[in-house]
């Protein structure tokens, strides 16, 4: 052995000695950061939810136990907002998923101008939601909007769109569908590009029609990608705020008031921070349950 050369401690010795603490120290910044960014706001929200916390009130907020939650369960607007949120989410997932998948199947086949059209088709997704909302708001105007003008050209009478209790939510979901169909298309398009060619060759040899190939080969193979799109879209649609707030502020009346809008009003218009925190907790639980459910479904549909 050369003079001055040192032997490295064995891994077992390192774990027993200083090395073990070094590993702990190395992950400490990440743990602290996560605690500060995620855990602290969560705990603080839980704390506020059990206090009568209102901005501008004098003195410290009094502890009120579960009163905010009880008030929430008796709040008609909150209870109505839950199914409304799910309905909006369902349309906002179903529309883009169906149309996005069809668009992906169309754009997966080569044809002249495909690149340009694919780019144009993707543009809505890149636009700022607030700008999208303002433009659609103008287009929806019952007297001055272009949509009713276009309908009049084909003999259909004017529609109230977002300016009616019955059609507000579907109209908002229409905007959501318009904006996010390209998102689903891009995911499914990526999936289609990664599919193996052998099943298609086998289907052709077996004499399958084009529709049968799509129905029995393409869709099953690309389904895991569609599921990814559905999960991401569902989480996003459930959280939609900007287009609803800008276009209807939850109205007419409360016709388009989803949980997000309800929560926003409580927190930032009425400054009922304690009550709003209780809404956040319930909303968070709904999101968690839904996300976990969708994740499990995705696991079951992935290729084995």
């Amino acid at each position: 052995m050369a003079v001055g050369a040192r032997t490295l401690p064995s891994p077992r010795r390192a774990r027993r000695g200083l090395g073990r603490h070094v590993y702990t120290l190395m992950i400490l910044p990440a743990v602290v950061t996560i605690l500060l960014i995620i855990a602290y706001p969560l705990v603080y929200t839980l704390w506020m939810a059990v206090h009568e916390y209102s901005m501008g009130a004098a003195g410290p907020p009094p502890f009120i136990g579960l009163a905010n939650y009880r008030q929430l369960l008796a709040n008609q607007r909150f209870l109505e907002a839950i199914p409304r949120t799910f309905l909006f989410t369902a349309i906002g997932v179903l529309g883009p998923t169906v149309l996005g998948t069809v668009a992906a199947l169309v754009f997966a086949r080569p044809f002249p101008g495909r690149g340009l059209l694919r780019t144009v088709f993707s543009l809505p997704m890149m636009a700022t939601p607030v700008s999208v909302a303002l433009i659609w708001q103008m287009m929806f105007h019952p007297q001055l909007g272009i949509l009713n003008y276009l309908l009049s050209l084909v003999g259909i009478g004017p529609q109230p769109w977002i300016f009616s209790r019955t059609s507000a939510l579907p109209s908002l979901a229409l905007v959501e569908t318009w904006q996010w169909t390209p998102f689903v298309m891009l995911i499914v398009l990526g999936g289609l590009a990664a599919l193996p060619t052998e099943p298609y060759e086998a289907a052709r040899i077996d004499g399958a029609s084009r529709w049968q190939v799509i129905r029995y080969v393409t869709i099953p193979l690309v389904w895991p990608y569609i599921m990814v799109a559905i999960i991401l879209r569902a989480i996003d649609a459930l959280k939609t705020f900007d287009i609803i707030y800008v276009m209807t502020q939850g109205g007419p009346g409360t016709a388009s008031e989803t949980l997000n809008i309800f929560l926003y009003l409580q927190a930032f218009a009425f400054f009922n921070i304690g009550f709003a925190s209780a809404v956040v907790v319930v909303y968070f639980l709904i999101l968690m349950v839904m996300s976990v459910g969708l994740m499990i479904t995705r696991q079951k549909t992935s290729w084995q």
């Binding site: 501008g56 007297q143 001055l144 004017p158 007419p252 218009a269 009425f270």
Partner: protein, 445 residues
């Protein structure tokens, strides 16, 4: 060439500087010289204001303030809704981060006053070393001073622009039908019925969207002799015969004489319909009239009449006011410098410029009597006269209570249900019952 004049580069530069200096000296918002504007020289202040045409005009004038006072200004522009949230959060934290802020008095006055979030201004106003001699607080008139004052005489904010509920109508259509100018609610209803010829022209336009619809109903209630609160401001008056009658009228006009979809209209949609000649009568804030007289946007240029909001036998025509004011942060560190900014921004010359160039409806009464103002303003004289007239009888278009946003939401939802056919009395009683505990809590605070 004989006799030609060829200035040197230095001469041209000198002339340019001379012209620039001359134009600065001639600025119409120049201040009187008999006051020490430089007393806070070297200080820096942070000013926060919403995005609006007249604050945009103000923003361009800030370098002149710095030149006049030597005070540096960091000017922050925040959209109105977000500004309200930002202010509430900053004040809750007792943050000195903002020195001067624009406050929506019709929303924030009670909440901010109760919480001690306005710096009392009397001591500054009464100090001749801090307030120019020509400032004249009383010039703000009843509309301005009302919103800037607390009930105990404390001045909490300096009036800037007022939202002014008034009446806009198609005078050409009035003339065709031989209708006389409207001064009562009954005449308004008669005009709406006479001029309603859909889909070419709808008799009426109004805001149906919850929250936005409150001032429309509120102004009708005031017009019939009612109000949101009693005189002591400790009792809701939202189920009185006047309030119920106003709700009936509002719902009937919206359901039967307003454009399809009005239940979801905010003022922008109603403004659009009026600008395109689709509406005959529109009682709403008169500042929304600006596009009517713009030939590039409007089909009704020169055809619009302006008047104060119609009244009744119990109330003469009036202006429904909502106030935007300038206030000082009580937790701020540069209060004298901030006060100098507040006096400068609310001085007559600066107000004159913001009113004529930025379409601000200021409340300094002397400006409306100034022929130069009529000349400088882009709107017709009839509009200016209507504003001046409405400001003579100002009435708050929103209730003065702490939780005004919740009030607007609760009663706003009830009003939309009335448009859909719900019974006004029942719905107002239910909304009052729902809001009463919050109102009582606000009173205690």
């Amino acid at each position: 060439m004989q006799g030609s004049y060829a200035p040197s580069r230095r001469q041209v530069l000198g002339m340019g500087l001379g012209l620039a200096a001359g134009s600065l000296a001639r600025r119409p918002w120049a201040q009187a010289a008999n006051f020490d504007w430089m007393q806070q020289k070297g200080k820096s202040i942070v000013v926060t204001a919403p995005l609006s045409p007249y604050y945009t005009v103000l923003q361009k004038m800030i370098p002149d303030f710095t030149k006049l006072t030597g005070i540096q200004v960091e000017y922050q522009v925040v959209p109105e809704q977000q500004l309200r949230q930002k202010l509430t959060i900053e004040m809750t934290a007792k943050s000195p981060g903002i020195d001067v802020f624009a406050s929506s008095m019709h929303v924030e006055k009670i909440l901010f006053s109760a919480a001690g979030w306005y710096e009392p201004l009397n001591k500054y106003l009464d100090n001749p070393n801090l307030t120019p001699p020509d400032y004249n607080w009383k010039d703000f008139g009843p509309a301005g001073t009302y919103w800037g004052l607390k009930g105990d005489g404390t001045i909490v904010a300096i009036p800037m622009g007022v939202g002014l509920g008034a009446y806009m109508y198609r005078k050409d259509l009035y003339a065709e039908k031989g209708l006389k100018p409207t001064s009562t609610v009954d005449e308004l209803i008669a005009a709406v019925k006479a001029l309603h010829k859909p889909p070419a022209v709808y008799g009426y336009a109004g805001r149906g969207l919850k929250n936005a619809n409150i001032p429309v109903w509120g102004c009708l209630t005031i017009a019939l002799g009612g109000d949101y609160l009693d005189k002591t401001k400790t009792q809701l008056m939202t189920t009185t015969p006047e309030a119920v009658e106003a709700a009936k009228i509002y719902a009937d006009l919206m359901r039967n004489f307003a454009p399809t979809g009005s239940i979801g209209f905010n003022w922008m949609e109603a403004q659009g319909a009026f600008t395109q000649g689709l509406v005959a009568c529109w009682p709403d804030s008169i500042q929304f009239a600006a596009p009517f007289e713009d030939p590039t946007k409007s089909k009704v240029v020169g055809k619009v009449g302006y008047a104060p909001h119609p009244g009744s036998a119990k109330m003469k025509p009036f202006g429904g006011t909502a106030m935007d004011a300038i206030a000082l942060n009580p937790f701020g560190k540069n209060k004298e410098a901030s006060w100098l900014f507040a006096t400068w921004v609310s001085s007559r010359p600066v107000h004159f410029h913001m009113m004529s160039e930025g379409a601000m409806i200021g409340t300094r009464t002397s400006i409306y009597a100034d022929p130069e103002f009529v000349k400088a303003h882009k709107m017709p004289k009839a509009w200016i006269d209507a504003v001046a007239e409405a400001l003579k009888n100002p009435r708050p278009q929103l209730p003065e209570l702490r939780d005004v946003s919740l009030f607007r939401d609760t009663f706003g939802v009830a009003l939309t249900k009335m448009i859909e056919g719900g019974d006004p009395k029942t719905l107002l009683e239910a909304a009052t019952k729902e809001f009463e505990p919050t109102f009582q809590k606000g009173l205690k605070s």
